[in-house]
Every structure is written in C-alpha cells, then in structure tokens.
Subunit: 472 residues, 2 copies
C-alpha cells in the first residue's frame, strides 16, 4: 500500500464518471471505461433486471431456445404464390403484409404507403396509385405484419396475395418461413417506388420468372442453406446488405438444376440474366432462412432470447422467445450511412424492414467481421466491421459454430441476443440496412448502419419479469 | 544526457545482435529488431547492391516497367489448342512444355516426370506410361519451360500440343499469354498423376469441354479479367490457391454467354457441372492474366523488377525485366503446409509450378490479406495472412490500386517485386502453393506456404550490375 501512495497513480474507472472527479482534481490520471448504468438508469427496472439476470428459469429456457436455434436446418423448399403459402392471404382476401410491428395505414411511413399503393395496383384492386391510396385508407384492405404470417420482407416488406414467395423449410422442426422475391436495386417496390416500370417488373417476377424459379427450385439437388450461407461468410458476405457471394453460389445451383429441365430457353435465359445481375438476389432467401432459425427458438417460456427484430419505418419492434406474440416497440432510429448523390439524412425514412431478422440470427451487422468490403456500402472502416462483431458477443448467448468468421480466427458469429444483456450493458444490436426516401414513390437513397432502440429491450424485460412473477 | 544515464535503459537494437551484448551483460534490456545483413552478408555483393540502390537508371527503368504492369488490361480472348497458339508446339513437333526454369528429363522431379509421361500417352506418342518414360528419356521429345512460349502452367505445368489453352490478351500491349485448363483436384496430371482416369479426363477436356468453352468464351460479353479479379479479392480469394469467388463469377459470365448459343444441351450441362464443381477453375486464367501483366513490364533495360518466378520442383527460377531471357536459379524450398491424412513433408516434392506468376503480379501470397480463409487450406492464422501482405510492401515497387485489399483498409496489393529490395532486406517473396507427392503418379498431398530463395535475387542483382557496368 505504501508503494501505491508514493508512485504516480493511473486509475481506470469502471463506473459513473463522477467517481473519478476527485482523483482528477487531485492531479491523478483517469481512464474512464465506456460504462453506463444498467437498465438505462431506471432504478426500478434495474432491480428487476438484477433478479432476472440470476433467475435459473431464464438460464434454462435460454439454453433450450438457443439449442433449437443452433439445430435449425433451413432448406430452400419451393417458390409458390403468397396466397397459396399463407392462409391469411388466401381465398380472395384483400390483405397486404408489411414489415415491422403492426401499424395502421394512416400512421405508416411514406415508402411503406407507396409500396402498398403499388401492390394494390399490381393486384388489380385499383387502377391508379391515387385510387389505391384511397382504397388503402378505407377499410377495404387489411394490413398485417409479415411476422404474423411466418413471413419476412425487406424494407417496406410488402407481400400481397399474387406475389410469389420463397418457401424455406426447417428440416429439424418442419416449420416454414416465407419471403418475397428480390426485385434488384434502384426504383423498386420495397423502397417505396410504385411507377409503372416497378409494377411491370412485379408482373414479370410473378409470371415468367416465377415459372422458371419454381422449376429450378423444385429440381435443386442441394437445398441446404446453412452451408451456403456459411460459405458466403468466407467470401465477404454478411448475407444481409452484402449477398454477392451467396447470390453467385445460389445462381450456380439454379443453373445446374435448370440444365436438367426442358424449359423454354429464352425464358430461362431472361430469368438467369436477372439473377446474375442482382447481387442482392439471395437477401430474401437469407431472411427466410433466418426466420425459420429464429422461429425454431421461439415460444420457450421464460426465455429472454430475442426472436424478432423488425421495423416499419416508424417503430422498431422486437419479440422474445418467452413472451409469445407480444411486440415491444419504440420509435425507429435514423440510419447513419452513405447517401446516394443529392440525398441526405433529411430525406431518409427511419429504419425500415424485416431484414433485421438476419441480425437476430447472428448475421448481417453481427457478422460484419466476415465482410470488410461491406463498409464501402454502409460506411465505416474494415476495423469497425470487426469491432462490431466482437462487441455483439457481449449481448449474445453464444457464437454459432455453423457460421464462422475468418477475421475472428474462425470464431462463430455472435448469435442469440439476450434482451437482459442488452439492457444490462447498454450495448445495442447493430443492424446493416438500406435507406429509403421518406416520401412514397422515390426509392432507395443510401445504405448504412443503425441500432435497435434500448426501449424495446426495457419493455421486453419488464414483460418477461411479469410472466415470471405470474409463474408458479 | 544526464537523465539518460540515470534511468533504466531499454534499448532497441537495429543491427547485428552482437552490438547489444555489452548492454545485456551490463543489465540493460534490449529488443533486437529482426535484422540481417543485406545481400546475405556477402560483402562484395553488398557493395554492388549499395550502388544499385542509388542508381538513377534503375529507378527510371523501374518506374517505366511498373507503369506498364499497372496499365496492362488482361482480357479472356479465346480457348484454342496449344499447337495453334504457340509456334513451338505446332507442325507436328514433339515438344512438351513444363513449369519452372529449363531442366532436362533426367533431372526432373517425380511429379513432373509423371505428368510428362501422362502427356505423352495422352498425345498418343506412346501406349503405356513405361513406354512414355522411355520415349521421354530419349531425344525424341523436346522439353521447354512454359515461360519460353508466353505460357504458364500450375504445378508440373505440362502443356502438350493437343491440349486446349486459355488465351489471355493484354488490351494495352496486344500481347498474348496462355495457360492450360484446370482439371480439378485429386488425381490430376498437374500433380503428377497419370492413371487412365487422368488421361480420360484430359481427352474429355480437349473434346466436348473444349468445344463448349470455346463457344462460351467467344460469346462473352465481358472479357475483362482485372475487374473480376479485383472483385474476387473482395470475396475472399487471393486468386492463386483460393479461386472460389473468381470461379463462380466466371461461371456466371460463361452461363450467360452459353444462354445465347445453340449448343447441345447435354454437352453444355456436363461442361457447366464440371466448372461448377471446381473452385480452382479460375486459377489457370488468373495465371495467364498475371503472365500478360508481367510480360507488359518485361524487357525494360536496367529494371530490377521481377517479371517471372517459377519452379520446376528442383530449382526456383526468376527473371528480371532488365535482364532479358536470363534465368536466376537456386534449389527450390520445401513447402511448409497442411498435408492430407497419411502424408508428411517427407513425401513432398519441392516447390513446383508456374503459379507463382500470381505472386509476381501482386496476387496469391502477396494478396493474402484478402483471403483470411486461405489459411484453412495453406496453414497459419488469418492474422498471418494480413501480416504477409503487409510484409511484402517492403520489397515491392508499389501497391496496385486496381487490386485493393479490404483488410488493409482498401490499400492496393503489394506488387512489382524489386530484386534489390529482396536482397537488401532479406524479406523473401511469400508464395501460396499446392504440394505434389515427390513420386510420379501419386498427385496432390497438401498445400502450404513457401518463399522464393534469396540466392535467385543475389544472382539477378549481380547480373543486373553487370549490364549496368557494360552500359555506356
């Protein structure tokens, strides 16, 4: 102790900055760790959290849920029309699915309204965008989150009855998940564009392209998606905002399947040219695969594992494995990113889309270490990309050995967000995302990185505490 | 100075370790930098090198040669038979090309002899491997390095008249380079295997596969190889020992081209299935592209730029831009690597093949930072991969802005080896490579990392000094 007081002090402060003020004013050197009070400094919630952090029921439930996530075996099963895939869209019902938690037409953000208006015209329920908007504002069309129908959609996330959807099956649980087809970049429905060229492309996608893809998928020799996604992680993808490798690998499988079939060559060539030109082709498949992996983990009583993160451009919503169908919502964050020339954050819609299901499954922003080149698309440096993956290990139940990250010395990708850990550490799940213009009809204006709001996790943990108190 | 002597010393020693012995024995702490005398401690050569390092004629020549390397625009031009591509293989001549510097049949390593015997059977010049070996040992077959015919071949590097070769054109200089077709992994001619299945595969490659590839290449919309290779570097390839992404990207181009042609579907499907199953498909194209880039830089008087590194399994040979057709040779190093089960370094042939042309062009081992996953194939850690690329910057004339490495914050790949810098620093060019069994007929037994021997660079620098003394 004597030696301690006789030599110059360098103090590391792990706590409130105020703790170190006396040392600083006495001439000592202090390094403040990046610390903040748990539970967003809400004392009551903090005590609740402290109890939950040592609750053996949660630990046990999380082990079970996480093991189910790890065991899932997503397989590309089919491509069919949404109305044949989901009972909620069948039988002539006028229902349209959207991304994120539930929201009424009047409250939706511009791109989601724009995309819905486009989908109504595409379905033939109205002839013009104006008429479609009027119809949407009436009670004649129902709206539901994709997640209420085992589905996910990027950005606006619009799925209407006549759209084809990928069907991904979990070979382990037999559950299915669905996602729409990727339209490419530029003026596309998912970013809120709805001009005639957008509608025409949707019609081609549900016509000729659908026919070719359905035949190709039904003839696939290898339907397993996890090995393909794992390989893509070794080829610079994080399979959310960068899908160049995964799309190329899937292209290879589709070509080999189509080679075994007797289809019209011109049709096949147009379909393959479309796939070859779209480095985001695999995104929607990656999302459906992530959805079945998280659905496998969903529904374990008491589990604090996050099984859904989704945004509707107004609110960010999450679900926990242990709290069933409840949504925990907070206003969606703006997206810090790279904007196309002529646009800035002032033009941007808030964080939007179901694609954060990839991060929920340990991919996307969580797997950024796999994808140093992603920073050319979403901003930052390759070192940031590695740091993001490392940081996420603080809030996840483990690392997925099926998805290894070369830059982390082949450690698994951080996976299985524990809502308690987010609330305890204040470390927010990082999400790579596209950026839509806030007005309907414009489209994509950039891409970037954002985070899930802490309030969602505070709400989820409080609700989980409630179910535990109610439990015997 | 007083303060210096009164406080504990920590000394960094940049020089011979002996310099620091007194400090150590007096109780000081010494960190020895990893230093060794220049020119391999050969005093006479060291003085010669010192003069060359400040010779403005070399600086000027290197600038010119390096600019030509950077300006090269390799394009995939055609696939034709070797006898139609290279005059030295035409007109019924019985000549076979091999990798590395010149070598007589009797001196060749096992895999090269095995591959040549296989090629003789393939050509129909002998009916059995034994008869082929007897023919090879007579004067009835001529042997030449691939590099003497603007060609490169991986491992044994065998090119015989009836084999198809890729033709890569430099859009800038109009020069051509050639490489044979990749046979896949396992029992293949380039690793010295020559069983009937190997010969049968070669016959299929020069028959049906050749016909499909020629049609596909002639119909390509995009022939540019540099952007494809640059993209592959962002997808985890170093385009020498890892070509998974580049092969997939080339597959995409070939499929789109074949879609526009009327060819027999069954033929096309077999050819595409072969390409799709071979992640090394692009290797030989990468080598031919590297060869035209280096040939563009070759022949600049006084330049110390290395334009060829090649190994015949006995000797490692290099060429400089400024010393014309001369080879500078030394015994090839063994390869430190990962061996297939049942094999060890005792079974291995020495470093073999022309594929080090990729490293000569700044790819392969020089671009390892692009390819952390390569260490699963060649050994080491992802951190080693990044360190290798960084270290190579010490011996290259620059970094190629056309080939950027995400892990180095999108810095260019180190490119343009300066033989003077290798001799001055003792830092040896790092090479990723496959490992062949030392006996004929066996095939690949592993993959690993090796280096070019210092003696090659010593010889080259001495010869360059001679040309400078002779110059006016």
């Amino acid at each position: 102790m004597k030696a301690l007081f006789s030599q110059p002090l360098h103090v590391v402060n792990a706590g409130l900055r105020g703790f170190a003020d006396n040392i600083t004013s006495a001439g000592g050197t202090v390094t403040n760790l990046d610390w903040q009070p748990p539970a967003g400094a809400d004392a009551a919630l903090g005590w609740q959290l402290a109890n939950l952090l040592r609750d053996p029921r949660i630990e046990e439930a999380n082990r079970t849920a996480y093991a189910r996530y790890l065991a899932a075996q997503p397989r590309l099963f089919d491509v069919i029309l949404a109305r044949d895939a989901m009972p909620g869209l069948g039988g002539g019902q006028r229902r349209i699915l959207h991304s994120g938690p539930p929201i009424a037409w009047a409250d939706m953000c511009g791109p989601q309204q724009g995309a819905i208006a486009g989908a109504i015209v595409y379905e033939g329920w109205a002839d013009t965008i104006e008429a479609a908007e009027a119809l949407a504002a009436s009670d004649a069309v129902a709206f539901d989150p994709c997640h209420h129908h085992s589905a996910v959609g990027p950005m606006a996330g619009i799925i209407s009855p006549s759209m084809p959807v990928w069907v991904v099956e979990d070979g382990e649980t037999g559950k299915y998940a669905f996602s729409n087809l990727n339209e490419g970049l530029g003026k596309v429905l998912r970013f809120g564009a709805n001009s005639p060229e957008v509608i025409d492309r949707l019609r081609w996608l549900s016509g000729e392209f659908f026919a070719v893809m359905q035949a190709a998928v039904r003839g696939l020799e290898d339907r397993n998606l996890k090995p393909l996604m794992a390989q893509a992680l070794h080829m610079g993808d994080e399979v959310h905002n960068r899908n160049a490798a995964a799309s190329c690998l899937m292209f290879k499988r589709l070509v080999l399947s189509l080679g075994r079939l007797e289809l019209d060559r011109a049709m096949v060539n147009r379909a393959l040219a479309f796939v070859a030109a779209n480095d985001h082709f695999f995104l929607n498949i990656s999302m459906a695969a992530s959805k079945v992996m998280m659905d496998a983990a969903h529904g374990e009583p008491h589990s604090s594992l996050v099984t859904v993160m989704a945004r509707n451009g107004v609110n960010f919503g999450i679900r926990l494995s242990g709290t069933g169908e409840m949504w925990f919502q907070a206003p969606a964050n703006p997206v810090n990113g790279l904007y196309f020339p002529g646009y800035s954050i002032a033009d941007a819609a808030a964080d939007l889309g179901d694609s954060a299901i990839t991060e929920t499954a340990g991919l996307g922003g969580f797997a950024m270490a796999a994808s140093p080149a992603i920073v050319q698309f979403v901003g930052g440096t390759p070192a940031d990309a590695v740091a993001n993956s490392r940081r996420m290990l603080n809030i996840t139940l483990g690392a997925n050995p099926a998805f290894t990250l070369p830059a982390l010395n082949f450690g698994g990708t951080p996976a299985g967000i524990d809502a308690r850990a987010v609330l305890d550490t204040g470390i927010l799940p990082v999400i790579n995302t596209g950026i839509a213009h806030r007005k309907a009809g414009v489209g994509q204006i950039g891409a970037g990185i954002t985070t899930a709001p802490l309030e969602c996790f505070a709400g989820a943990v409080a609700a989980l505490a409630g179910t535990l108190e109610a439990a015997p």
